[in-house]
């Protein structure tokens, strides 16, 4: 009797979670953030409902500040897979002219992502939303449930979170309440990359190193993705070979200098980076890490 590999087990568990939601919830949706975790989650959904299509739409809460390549990849992916894609932009945020350069990342994230997400969920009456968050992302996420119940106001009440035993998930909820469901809870970042490699899952090209116009601010490399980026007097975008470890709004996402143009190269770089970092190298992508954190606090 052969033992299943850890990736096979993780895959089966995620598929189980995806199916459980479709079997027990009325109107699920998959939050599609275009990043590598979303790519893996979508790939798992394709497997879970084979030979049919996943019986739910994709929802992208667009802040209008995403990298252009992300938007291209999003539309191309939905077309290629024949998935329904709902793109929601918070009209209030547009009216207010929310701009991360002017208003800062906290307000931008709250209005464009958190408020935008709530609007979209309410507007379409979704009662369950898949998210690609992982428990290993941060210390505080380690105890997050796979099925997280939210009030009709989308609030997370720690006292109402339910114990999760075995493979039994309690999906019951009162009218107006909804679930956030995290099929990738038990995946680590390394698992994600290994799986992308094993399954040959398409990801946004920004993850791979290329010459890109960047400016350096507070130790972070920001890519000048369009003309909305205000440049300080004398500040000149330079072409540098960079890639991104996480993807979000381009003004809030730091790049790292890299030569990794392929998946094996990325993995090699990650592994090498680890050993040297233990000897005290300065971390050069704080912006990216804190972006992830904001996503969890606000977005989820």
């Amino acid at each position: 009797m052969s033992t299943l590999s850890h990736l096979s087990r993780l895959e089966a568990e995620s598929i189980h979670i995806l199916r459980e939601v479709v079997a027990e919830c009325e109107r699920p949706v998959m939050l599609y953030s275009i990043g590598k975790d979303s790519s893996v989650m979508l790939h798992l959904a394709l497997k879970a409902f084979h030979p049919g299509r996943p019986p739910f739409p994709l929802l992208h809460v667009d802040t209008t500040w995403k990298f252009r390549q992300m938007i291209e990849f999003r539309d191309q992916t939905a077309r290629r897979l024949g998935m329904d894609l709902i793109v929601h932009v918070n009209p209030d945020g547009i009216a207010m002219g929310i701009n991360p350069f002017v208003h800062g990342s906290a307000l931008h994230t709250d209005i464009m992502k958190t408020q935008g997400l709530r609007q979209a969920l309410d507007q379409y009456g979704f009662d369950a939303a898949f998210g690609g968050a992982r428990r290993d992302e941060e210390k505080s996420r380690a105890k997050e449930r796979v099925f997280s119940i939210r009030s009709a106001q989308h609030r997370w009440d720690p006292k109402r979170q339910r114990p999760e035993l075995w493979r039994l998930y309690n999906t019951r909820k009162a009218k107006g309440e909804s679930l956030r469901v995290f099929p990738l809870s038990n995946w680590t970042e390394l698992d994600i990359w290994q799986y992308i490699h094993q399954e040959d899952i398409p990801i946004v090209p920004l993850y791979f190193a290329a010459e890109r116009p960047v400016v350096e601010r507070d130790g972070a490399l920001l890519m000048v993705d369009d003309a909305r980026m205000p440049l300080a007097p004398g500040e000149q975008p330079q072409l540098r070979k960079v890639r991104f470890r996480t993807l979000g709004c381009y003004p809030l996402t730091g790049a790292i200098e890299s030569n990794a143009e392929s998946l094996p190269a990325i993995l090699q770089e990650m592994l090498l980076a680890r050993t040297s970092e233990r000897h005290g190298r300065v971390i050069d992508h704080d912006a990216a890490a804190s972006m992830e954190k904001k996503k969890q606090e606000g977005y989820f």
Binding site: M1, S2, T3, L4, S5, H6, L7, R9, A12, E13, H16, R19, E20, V22, A23, L46, K47, A48, F49, H50, P51, G52, R135, D136, E137, K139, S140, A142, K143, K159, Q161, R162, P163, L165, W166, R167, L168, N170, R172, K173, A174, S185, N186, T188, E189, L190, Q194, Q198, P264, L267, Q268, L271, A273, R274, T275, E277, R278, G280, I283, D286
Partner: protein
């Protein structure tokens, strides 16, 4: 064991190859903060050298700022977030940590907390293959050590690591370790824990965690990590008979109907015979369908689709089981319950029970006793409070396919859900069915006449037509049956003459044989009402006592005595079968009305005066009476 990813990085593809062969071990750590649990987990995370970069950097700065270990890294900071959580009033919970080595990926259920220890430990233990029980070498086996071990045993974890920590504080003395181990083994045997590996270690100094303890050369066993790396994983479910709860019926188009689920026991191949439970229907597996194509075999832990050779009725909540060793089915169980809600568990209160993909209504019929988790004493109790454990009898409103928890955690473990606030209020382990008929198909047990009647949208009953030969019983009964059939009802007509050609061929017309004739027909009619049918009996049945006997076999309101009242002269004049003539000629003996009496019913449910109504009108009269009696609904329209 040391994972040295950097050494492999030069050949990433080879490294990836190795990674793809890794398996998964889930374990739980039990012990209080004082036992050095956080330090131990932190060290495992750190020494596996695959911490995310930002966490490593945070650890280094936090250690300088907040650490208790001077210039050293304080590994406890990697996992401690508890103080902050307490301040914020957040429930202390199970946290899941991840690390990986060359051989394995590990998921650690870290269950801190004192107040909620039972709820948290049970949750963490439910998915663990192994438990690491920490003991402070200075303190030895404590009450809480026993409590943790009992809960681990209760949740079915068989592999135990007794980690005797803080050996550095007892001068690495072998006798201290040996004493702790001896005391623990004595206790563990009482709760059926026998697979125990005891390891002396110092999490703080990193001795016998991943590297052998230099000052414990007297210890010949494995380091903690060596043991975790070598312990066999996940073979228990695979060794069980095939089980798969049907999660979802996959029907993307008319050409495909698959049953989706995660295999929780054994393995399956195309051609295998599976039984659908609780219905008991058996069929052969046609295909194992996955996105990777059809599989020749699938094993426990995989999520798949199955298709069958036959068109059978399968829906979410059914359990697919190996036909050769199917799961049991019952609606009454003995179970151990762990209560997880502030509101106490009260016998008789209805909850929802979810087991596999099936959710049914359930109530505790009896709380036999609760268990003191510190002393293992059994105590009488009227209710279970938060974190209490009890042995109960459970009643379900529907049958459930199950295995005893000791055989299969997924088909024996369940949660209880509050029907009002939807919270998960308890978890439990099915021990045994309280009905003796485990492994007998469900139909034989408990699908009763009521269920069958409801399924047929009617009330099962007997319409007993009595009257003289030639009175018109069969004619009217035939018309009634046709009408009922036309309305989509399920009927059967037992005709005296037909029965005498078969079942009662051995009976004549003596009084004794007449009684036996009616007894048999009455029994057959009763069986047919058990099957949910409306049974029409057309029998002369001349004696009141016989008809009373038939009536006594059925429940109140299920027996309609229909007296087809035709005067003897009229019947004899009709004489459709020429029987009266033969009787008058003495060629038939004991003929009712001629040389044998007919005792007319005194209080029939329906009396039909055939001298005043036609057969058609008589049949309409019967139908109308059945509507009034609620045997058939008034407004039901049958559309063929």
């Amino acid at each position: 064991m040391n994972a040295e990813p950097s050494a492999r990085a030069a050949d990433v593809n080879a490294w990836l190859q190795a990674q793809s062969r890794k398996d998964l071990l889930r374990f739980i750590t039990c012990g209080s903060v004082d036992d050095g649990k956080s330090t131990l987990i932190g060290r495992l995370l750190y020494e596996s050298r695959l911490l995310p970069e930002d966490q490593l950097a945070a650890l280094e700065s936090d250690s300088r700022r907040l650490g208790t270990q001077g210039e050293e890294l304080d590994f406890a900071l990697l996992v401690d977030g508890l103080a902050a959580e307490r301040e914020q009033g957040i429930t202390i919970d199970v946290a899941y940590r991840f690390f990986t080595t060359e051989r394995r990926k590990y998921i650690v259920a870290d269950t801190p907390g004192h107040e909620q220890y039972t709820r948290n430990m049970v949750t963490g233990a439910s998915t663990a293959d192994l438990a690491v029980i920490l003991v402070d070498a200075r303190k030895g086996v404590l009450t809480q050590t026993r409590r943790h071990s009992y809960l681990v045993s209760l949740l079915g974890i068989r592999r135990i690591v007794l980690a005797v920590n803080k050996m550095d504080l007892v001068d690495y003395a072998a006798p201290v370790f040996e004493q702790v181990e001896r005391v623990y083994r004595e206790f563990a045997a009482r709760i059926a824990l026998t697979d125990i590996v005891a390891i002396p270690l110092s999490a703080l100094r990193g001795e016998n965690v991943t590297k052998p303890g230099e000052r414990m050369s007297w210890y010949r066993g494995p380091t903690l990590m060596q043991h975790l790396e070598s312990v066999p994983v996940q073979d228990e479910a695979a060794a069980q008979p095939f089980r798969m709860p049907v999660q979802w019926v996959n029907r993307p188009n008319q050409d495909f109907r698959g049953f989706a689920g995660l295999i929780v026991g054994g393995s399956v191949r195309p051609g295998d015979y599976l039984r659908v439970l609780p219905s008991g229907v058996t069929s052969r597996v046609a295909r194992i369908v996955t996105a990777e194509g059809d599989l020749p075999q699938a094993v426990a832990g995989q999520s798949i689709n199955l298709t069958f050779e036959d068109e059978i009725d399968v829906s979410r909540g059914d359990l697919l089981a190996a036909a050769a060793s199917p799961a049991g089915v019952s609606d009454k169980f003995e179970a151990t319950i762990v209560w997880m809600s502030d509101e106490p568990m009260l016998p008789g209160r209805p909850y929802l029970l979810k087991c596999g993909a099936r959710t049914v209504a359930a109530a505790v019929a009896q709380l036999k006793h609760k268990i003191n988790v510190n002393t293992l004493e059994e105590l009488a109790a009227r209710q279970l409070e938060l974190n209490e454990i009890g042995l109960v009898n459970l009643n379900l409103d529907q049958p459930l396919a199950f295995d005893p928890y000791a055989h299969n955690r997924d088909t024996g473990g369940f949660i209880l859900i509050d029907r009002i606030n939807n919270n998960t209020v308890g978890a439990g382990m099915l021990q045994a069915a309280l009905r003796p008929a485990e492994n007998v198909q469900w139909q034989a047990l408990d699908v009763g006449r009521a269920n069958r009647s409801v399924q047929k949208n009617q009330k099962a009953c007997v319409l007993w037509f009595t009257g003289l030969s030639g009175a018109g019983k069969s004619t009217i009964a035939n018309l009634v049956e046709k009408k009922l059939f036309g309305m989509g009802r399920h009927t059967y007509l037992l005709d005296g003459d037909n029965i005498r050609h078969g079942l009662n061929r051995d009976l004549g017309f003596t009084d004794a044989d007449r009684v036996e004739n009616i007894r048999r027909v009455g029994e057959v009619a009763r069986l047919m009402t058990d099957a949910g049918l409306i049974v029409l009996v057309s029998f002369i049945s001349p004696f009141r006592s016989e008809r009373r006997l038939a009536r006594s076999l059925l429940g109140a309101g299920e027996f309609f005595e229909i007296f087809v009242d035709t005067p003897l002269a009229v019947a004899e004049a009709r004489d459709p079968k020429g029987l009266y003539r033969k009787a008058r000629a003495g060629r038939i003996r004991n003929f009712t009305g001629i040389d044998s009496p007919y005792e007319p019913p005194e209080n029939p449910e329906i009396r039909i005066d055939t001298s005043r109504v036609s057969a058609e009108q008589a049949a309409e009269q019967v139908i109308a009476q059945l509507r009034i009696a609620g045997v058939i609904d008034r407004d039901w329209v049958f559309i063929p």
